[in-house]
């Protein structure tokens, strides 16, 4: 997973590139692979949640998430995703 966060005028722009197959049930049947996709993505700065999303099998492979929030330079943002099977990955990045 790649996380980039950049602050300008008090607004932090974040780009998250997750590495995941994101296979929906129908797609899985066709490709003879097990359906598995990212179901939840949460970003936090300290204890505060700044981004909270639920996803489906219709996100692309290696999905890109973009969002904005009010924040400042130097803080650390932590992004975590969970998939259907319960696997989870986190990544921390400094806001530039």
């Amino acid at each position: 997973m790649k996380v980039k966060a950049k602050e300008k005028d008090g607004i932090v722009k974040v780009k998250v590139l997750a590495k995941h197959q994101n296979i929906g049930p129908e797609e899985g049947e066709k490709k003879k692979k097990e359906a598995n996709f990212i179901t939840s993505v949460v970003a936090k700065v300290g204890d505060a949640i700044v981004f909270d999303m639920n996803g489906s099998g219709f996100m692309s492979k290696d999905p890109l998430y973009k969002f904005k929030f009010k924040g400042k330079k130097g803080d650390k943002i932590e992004v975590t995703w969970i998939d259907l099977k319960g696997e989870t990955k986190s990544k921390e990045a400094k806001i530039k």
């Binding site: 929906g24 939840s40 700044v50 999303m53 692309s60 890109l64």
Partner: protein, 148 residues
């Protein structure tokens, strides 16, 4: 671990749980919304019988997506929102994503999604005022992206 300590830990966890649950987990709490085939049914399952106003919401997506496997879609709104949800009508099920907007959050979300063919994307914004706002955008997909 002795019993007293163990119980104490249990209580501490209980006390912490409501904090963690401030954000709504749409997948757990509204499972039917993710099973519905049509956007209208999915919206009903997620928000109930609502009549959204068609204003205040923008969807940015390519008019002609060459690759249905990775379509960049943005949802934007200046409305103070509680949640945002995105649907489409080309795939086997309608729901694509749902966001819980944090306090003071900015509604400007981008994702990359898959679409089996041409169709409409619907975005619903649940305002803090209790009203709902929507936008529908038709896009053409030249090569389907759902396992095609």
């Amino acid at each position: 671990m002795d019993r007293r300590k163990f119980l104490g830990l249990g209580l501490a966890t209980l006390a912490l749980t409501p904090m963690a649950a401030t954000a709504l987990d749409f997948r757990k709490e509204k499972p039917d919304a993710w099973k519905a085939e049509k956007p209208a049914d999915a919206i009903k399952a997620l928000y109930g019988d609502i009549k959204p106003e068609e204003k205040g919401v923008t969807i940015k997506a390519p008019e002609l997506a060459e690759n249905g496997g990775k379509i960049p879609v943005f949802v934007k709104s200046d409305i103070e929102a509680k949640s945002v949800a995105l649907f489409q009508d080309a795939n086997p099920r309608a729901a694509v994503a749902a966001w819980t907007v944090p306090e003071g959050g900015i509604v400007d979300y981008g994702i990359t999604m898959k679409m089996k063919g041409s169709g409409s994307i619907t975005a619903i914004v649940e305002g803090k005022d209790g009203k709902f706002y929507s936008k529908v955008l038709k896009i053409e997909v030249s090569k389907g992206g759902c396992g095609g």
